[in-house]
Amino acid sequence: MTIKADPQSAEEVIRKGLEELGADPGRVSREATFESLDVDSLDLVEIAQIVEDEFGVELGGDDVKELKTVGDAIDLVVAKSA
């Protein structure tokens, strides 16, 4: 069963995912860029898999490519979940 994403739950899931991938928890914020967190394209595919697991939201390669910040990812998940 998946749940609907709201800004809070999406942020929580993405934050947890990033930390699991090895990002520094102290540096994860809405404004942080993936580049500054040393999150690359392979990491973003894993984040997409986690998000799909949790919210049933499918993020394609093109969606993920456009993401620059953690906030971008949260907003996209919430929008796609709506």
């Binding site: 991938l21 090895g22 040393d38 894993e46 898999q49």
Partner: protein, 397 residues
């Protein structure tokens, strides 16, 4: 003046512990790293060497290779790369590569479907991952690749590296082997073909031997071109003075019982080193503890060394760490180099019952002092499923 490959750094992670010294110290004391048939690297924690992110982006075989290469570069005093990075190569052998990651992702595929398979699966399991990761970690821009030749891979990797240095295409090469394949599938597969010991005891050359004990680990030699190493003031630990390789072209897994081609590889290594059998001070045997290998290897040594075969001490590292497969040749080259430096032949631990025809001096009991003050020479044998034979000849500085 021809170019030569000297050894300036050693690194090893083995069932005897983390570090080349743990390997040689404990083996020389006759201690074993095999506990109840288990030859894993229990003391190894990847997070001692890697960040969490680095660790999850590397299969365990790659983590082991990174730890061993850190040690080798550290021993050589390479805080900065002392050469043009484009002329520093990296060759890491493996028998299987990231089979643990492959097995995990196969389970994910079955349970959750194709879309859940990790994007890291390929870079984790590819057999060249060890070489790629070591080159990336240290910024080595020279030729780098993996070597895959089953249980001869570590020795082939070092042989290839020696040739790169001699040919002038590299000034230094990080060379070795790494393996971590103790997964359900691999354990079942080796058992199914009757290669591994049902009793979980590794006792090479003993009449009761019944197969090898699968182990994991990594070994790395830092090789540098001799003149360059000397001019930077490096401490020289030894030299890979010879390399010989051949193929049985005989059977999928069984060695040619005549030992013809493995003997030829041994002779090639000696010729390459410019020495004769009587110059050999020590033989580090492949010595797997399988009924077939230990007999055919004994035959090959007799064929290659003639009457001198019975005079030289022959021992098997696998008696204390099991069979590290693609890492074996490299870890054993590390052990051989350290043993020569300490002028000691470590024992074949557990050898008690002798078998008709297996009549070389296998150093049963305690480690033996290698007498004299001369430059010491040893060979380290590695033979792989598929009939791959690779022999290194190593000398003291």
């Amino acid at each position: 003046m021809s170019r030569r490959a000297v050894i300036t750094g050693l690194g090893a992670v083995s069932p005897l512990g983390v570090g080349a010294d743990a390997l040689i110290d404990r083996w020389s004391r006759g201690e074993t790293g095999i506990v109840d048939g288990d030859a894993s690297c229990r003391d190894f924690d990847p997070l001692d060497f890697l960040s969490r992110k680095e660790a999850r982006r590397a299969d365990r075989f790659t983590q082991l290779a990174l730890a061993a290469s850190d040690e080798a570069l550290g021993e050589a005093g390479w805080e900065e790369i002392p050469y043009d990075r484009r002329r520093v190569g990296c060759v890491i052998g493996t028998g299987i590569g990231g089979i643990g990651s492959l097995q995990e992702q196969s389970a994910v595929l079955r349970e959750k479907g194709a879309k859940a398979v990790s994007p890291l699966a390929v870079p984790l399991m590819m057999a060249n991952a060890g070489s790629a990761a070591v080159a990336m970690r240290h910024g080595l821009n020279g030729e780098s690749f993996g070597v895959v030749s089953a249980c001869a891979a570590g020795a082939h990797a070092i042989g290839a590296a020696v040739r790169m240095i001699r040919a002038g295409t590299a000034d230094a090469v990080v060379a070795g082997g790494s393996e971590s394949a103790m997964t359900e599938v691999a354990i079942a597969a080796f058992a199914s073909m009757g290669a591994t010991s049902p009793t979980g005891i590794s006792r090479p050359f003993d009449a009761r031997r019944d197969g090898f004990v699968m182990g994991e680990g990594a070994g790395v030699l830092l090789l540098e071109e001799a003149d360059s190493a000397r001019s930077r003031g490096a401490e020289i630990l030894g030299e890979v003075v010879g390399y010989g390789a051949s193929s049985d072209a005989h059977h999928l897994t069984a060695p040619d019982p005549s030992g013809t081609e493995s003997a030829r590889a041994i002779r090639m290594a000696l010729e390459d080193a410019g020495i004769t059998p009587s110059d050999l001070d020590y033989v580090n045997a492949h010595g797997t503890s399988t009924p077939l290998n230990d007999r055919s290897e004994t035959g090959a040594l007799k064929l290659a060394l003639g009457d001198d075969a019975s005079a030289v001490p022959v021992s098997s590292t696998k008696s204390v760490i099991g069979h590290l497969m693609g890492a074996a040749g490299a870890v054993e080259a590390v052990a051989t180099t350290r043993a020569l430096n300490r002028r000691v032949a470590p024992p074949t631990v557990g050898l008690e019952r002798f078998e008709e025809g297996l009549d070389l001096d296998y150093v049963p009991g305690d480690a033996r002092r290698l007498d004299g003050e001369h430059r010491l020479h040893a060979i380290s044998n590695s033979f792989g499923f598929g009939g791959h034979n690779a022999v290194l000849c190593i000398a003291t500085a």
